[in-house]
Symmetry: C2
Subunit: 373 residues, 2 copies
């Protein structure tokens, strides 16, 4: 009997059904007590060791094994939850996390996205159409030059103008100077257009600097923040999302997360990593490289992220898939077919491609998405 209060993690294990059953037996110990089975006291086995719920062949190969864990093992902290889900087992080949399912009682400990799809749409006054996002780049430009770009993008109607994830606090464009300049530029453009474009600076930083930069950004009038959970840790993102004094939309970037999906038989599924986990961490819009660009995610993997961004997770709001990584104008139609209209198109280099008039280049994207309102 598995208590109904336990949460489950579904793994894909390589090997035959018999091998998978043996490995699942190791796994449920490895992820909890990390202690030899025969030496674990009966009482601890009852309270703390995971239990195999189900084993079935996976159409993608190997076996799909669901293990239930006592909520006490994860202790209501995202760091320890991740540790129970995959801590030690990440070091073993042939095991991938496909999905996790928390109970309502556990989900109640996670606030989740503060804005989500509906909240971000309300802020942007864009109730139905696809949204547009771009990144300020290239790295090496001054704060002033980046602000000039930001002005042009906002003038052309890009909804979210974020820092490129590589802009931190470098000498060529110090954080404070950049944020002030870009906020002013976007506000000025908004005053002209009547749009509500948001500027989201990158607050991925040293442990002691993240919260400080986010609050500085808020004080300067930024409309949201960008963070890379792979660099900062997922709980740092959650910390920002739960900060009632900050209360800004949060976008995540996949930097350094790639290795979690690089091996087909290790790491996390795209669904679990970019969908479920980002949402649990309170991210409002999750950036990932769409199929057909410079990266190698497949269409099916991208669609699974979109599913993970909306599928029922207690009271946690659905979030915006934000496909990027080589996004082009001529792909909008195809991508809408996969993601639907609840999507943020992240267009980087291609907004510079048609010529130096960034406002005009942006306007043409804006006109395009407005036809899908």
């Amino acid at each position: 009997m598995i208590p109904t209060t336990w949460f489950t993690v579904t793994y894909r294990l390589q090997g035959t059904a018999e091998e998978a059953r043996a490995r699942a037996d190791e796994l449920r110990y490895e992820q909890t007590v990390e202690f030899p089975m025969d030496l674990t006291p009966e009482a601890i086995r009852e309270t703390s060791v995971g239990r195999v719920v189900d084993t079935a062949p996976d159409p993608a190969g190997g076996q799909r094994v669901t293990i239930a864990y006592a909520p006490e093992t994860a202790g209501n902290e995202l760091t320890q939850f991740l540790n129970v889900v995959f801590g030690n087992t990440s070091i073993k080949p042939g095991v991938r996390v496909e999905r996790f399912d928390l109970t309502p009682a556990m989900l109640a400990h996670y606030r989740g996205p503060r804005y989500g799809r509906a909240g971000l749409r309300a802020v942007l006054a864009a109730p139905t159409r696809p949204l547009l996002c771009t990144a300020l780049k290239p790295m090496g430009l001054s704060a002033r030059e980046l602000a000039q770009h930001a002005y042009q993008f906002a003038l052309g109607g890009i909804d979210i103008i974020k820092d490129d994830h590589g802009l931190a606090d470098q000498s060529f464009s110090p954080f404070s100077e950049r944020v002030r300049a870009c906020v002013a530029a976007v506000q000025e453009a908004n005053a002209r257009t009547g749009y509500r474009s948001l500027y989201m600076p990158n607050v991925t930083a040293s442990h002691g600097q993240v919260v400080e930069r986010a609050h500085l950004a808020k004080a300067y009038g930024a409309g949201g923040v960008l963070i890379s959970p792979g660099l900062s840790g997922f709980d740092t993102a959650r910390h920002l999302a739960d900060d009632d004094q900050l209360a800004l939309p949060i976008m995540s970037h996949p930097a350094l997360l790639g290795s979690f999906t690089a091996a087909p038989d290790n790491g996390f599924s795209h669904f679990a990593l970019y969908g479920q986990l980002n949402r649990l961490a309170g991210i409002d819009a999750v950036v990932f490289p769409s199929w057909g660009g410079r990266f190698s995610f497949t269409r099916a993997e991208c669609e699974s992220i979109a599913r993970g961004s909306i599928e029922p997770m207690g009271a946690l709001a659905p979030i915006f898939p934000t496909p990027g990584g080589g996004m082009k104008r001529e792909r909008v139609e195809e991508m809408l077919g996969a993601y639907g209209k609840d999507v943020i198109f992240l267009i980087g280099g291609d907004l510079h491609r048609p010529g130096p008039d960034l406002a005009d280049n942006s306007r043409r994207f804006r006109d395009l998405v407005e036809t899908y309102a």
Copy 2:
């Protein structure tokens, strides 16, 4: 000409020399400006885009490509350094980080390990012999029961008694209660034995809790702390290491880091991840699963970690390889052959195997390593 102030990262790329050259050209843009080559202004190319230093066939297959980056791109933050090293490229198959080489000027921004090998040996009054470590487990025991174990381990002469990495702040053994009980137990044993055993609680926690728990541990008299950088982010470990008010030895655990070495052609080499990066983050002793246990690292991979823990890195102190993951008494001789005496043997379940007298089981390990003084 590549400026001497630039740092280098050596990658292993899959494919032929010609393919590797083309990919290296993409990589140096992807990791810096993330902008189309033809649209990148000449001045930015000069200041901010990485440059290929060298390409050569790798004996392990593929090509070894060294790319130099301007120090300004990494901006003296560990998060942004990691982003330049592997942020976006982590999402591309067929690229692995083999090693990185910082310039003396950059290394000067990293304090590195506060104790390192020499410091930890001084604290433990163990100038030459291999050191011993164990983990308090299984999860599910009460603080009082774990403290009883800690007492026995210390009585038997285990140098470092750490929390199992899955002990956080769960209801069965709350952090504060556990740390007080275990510190008292180890101090009592030390008073009897004259040894200097250290208790290191796990401070991996929510973003806002890590520093608080570490300082609480210090206030209670803990002799060091354990952190899992894969869960908390590497810079959180560095933050603790650099904290002059804390000033405790830091041990790292590999939880969730496994996916970075799971694919042979993605992620990081064991040398770079467990050796170089842990050291740059200020870790004094790095736990990893040794070959021949429950995990799958090879002997060569483990030896490369040991090399990474000592090879010249500016003024950064050498650190202790801490092999675990199924360590047994009968393997000590073989492991000394690989690691030398500058090693911490992490023995978990096997300290419980011979019988319920944990002090006696520990004493036999201690007697064994003392023969290698």
